[in-house]
Symmetry: C2
Subunit: 270 residues, 2 copies
């Protein structure tokens, strides 16, 4: 039986998680829902985000038949995982715990940095997950990185400067806090597109951890999927969005690493 | 009788319009609603924006008793003015036509540039309004400027570079189109906070027109308000938001030019 995996995001950034899932579990069927009518979740309250994410999860499970759910949105994972698990009867995986676990596996000093959106940082969900693993952690919001990625400036000198500003502030804060960090966690699904620039900008020796890849690894284990063999991939991918289908199709392929195909418009009643 | 003026925006950028209104009509009562739960409108479809904006307008008129409405949001003015006028029985003023009229009054060559969000540009509402006045017009989306303002980088060298990139592209496009522009319209309520940087960056001799100020001038005429005399201002301002009241209070005073006071949370049912 081909498993059906639902992937939920506030927008289309979570396509970087789907991309990592496709590399590891290429024989599943995927339904991806981007709640583009109500993005960004990053600036909204916990109550609102929980309400929106639960509606999206119900669509994927009840209407698309998803047997497993990946919440490919850091903000929703941080603020709404409990609310989602209450409304759907399938295993649900967020991106926070896998990202923290990957940081734990990578760090030798036990001190890690996390960059993310405002709401993810304010939730301190990464800090909680990292501290539960005995790591010391410093989180920083980098609100300009998402719009820079969406503008397509993933190799632009202005983006390099913005990254330098943020990382310099982060280094100063780490110094003040006495952290000897060796790991930087990308706590936003847009950031993998900036990974080359971020790897160039970090202090030499600092490892960059991509939550998207860590989540796909965790999905394989949680959902008891087998690692892909040499068979040709047969994955079927259907993409849904609550608004702005054109923008999703135009920008989404950059995140997914292949064309998204026709994106279907759905109404969650918002 | 003290008039009650409702001011609607998708976020709090429209506080720059309220600021201009307060300078001109300081004796009115104002109710400002920012639909922060569902911002940004700039990346959403016409259908969604019309639905959201109509709900906001109904709140201001039916629940707050507004006798006049200013739609202090370029995207909603561009895409939802008709939808709003259908649901409320009071005079409604958007920011597009006043901005175009001010450009018409300022331009000697008859060629103007407009910078705005993606959705405002894609609606070509400024182009239509300018062309109806016999102007030739070139519109450009500058998606990074709103997040830069919200990050507080209104005097930052990175912002100056982003502005240079956008204005250079705009100059090249104007040259190709054979436009001899002498006027730049700020078609987004966030942009007045970048006015000093924009005025520094434009070609000498180019006038910068602020739609917020143009709209407040138009409101005085449409609503038959008298110009403020020398009496002390008595304006009463109440601010409402659909989410993220903290962020509204924290950032809003920069836009309004004075503290917003306590922002009240309202639920529009989204």
């Amino acid at each position: 039986m081909t498993p059906i995996i639902g992937v939920f995001d506030s927008g289309f950034g979570g396509l970087t998680v789907l991309r990592a899932l496709l590399q590891r579990i290429p024989h599943a069927c995927y339904s991806f829902l981007g709640d583009t009518a109500r993005l960004p979740y990053g600036s909204k309250s916990r109550r609102t985000i929980a309400h929106y994410a639960a509606e999206g999860a119900e669509f994927l499970v009840k209407e698309q038949g998803a047997e497993f759910l990946v919440i490919a949105c850091n903000t929703a994972s941080a603020l709404a995982l409990d609310a989602i698990q209450e409304v759907v009867p399938v295993p649900v995986l967020g991106v926070i715990e896998p990202g923290a676990a990957a940081a734990w596996a990578a760090s030798k000093t036990g001190d890690v940095l996390v960059i993310a959106t405002d709401a993810t940082v304010q939730s301190h969900a990464y800090a909680a997950a990292c501290e539960a693993l005995g790591l010391r952690v410093l989180e920083k919001a980098c609100p300009l990185l998402v719009p820079l990625v969406e503008e397509g400036w993933t190799g632009h000198p202005v983006t390099a400067q913005v990254i330098d500003v943020y990382l310099k502030e982060l280094r100063n804060q780490a110094r003040e806090a006495g952290l000897y960090y060796d790991t930087l966690v990308l706590g936003c699904t847009h950031y993998p597109l900036l990974r080359p620039m971020l790897e160039q900008a970090v202090t030499p020796g600092v490892q960059v951890i991509d939550s998207a890849e860590a989540t796909a690894d965790a999905a394989m284990r949680l959902f008891r999927m087998e690692q892909a063999g040499n068979e040709p991939p047969t994955a079927d991918v259907r993409c849904f969005a609550t608004d702005s289908v054109d923008k999703f199709e135009r920008l989404g392929s950059r995140f997914l690493g292949r064309p998204t195909g026709k994106v279907e418009l759905v109404d969650l009643g918002g």
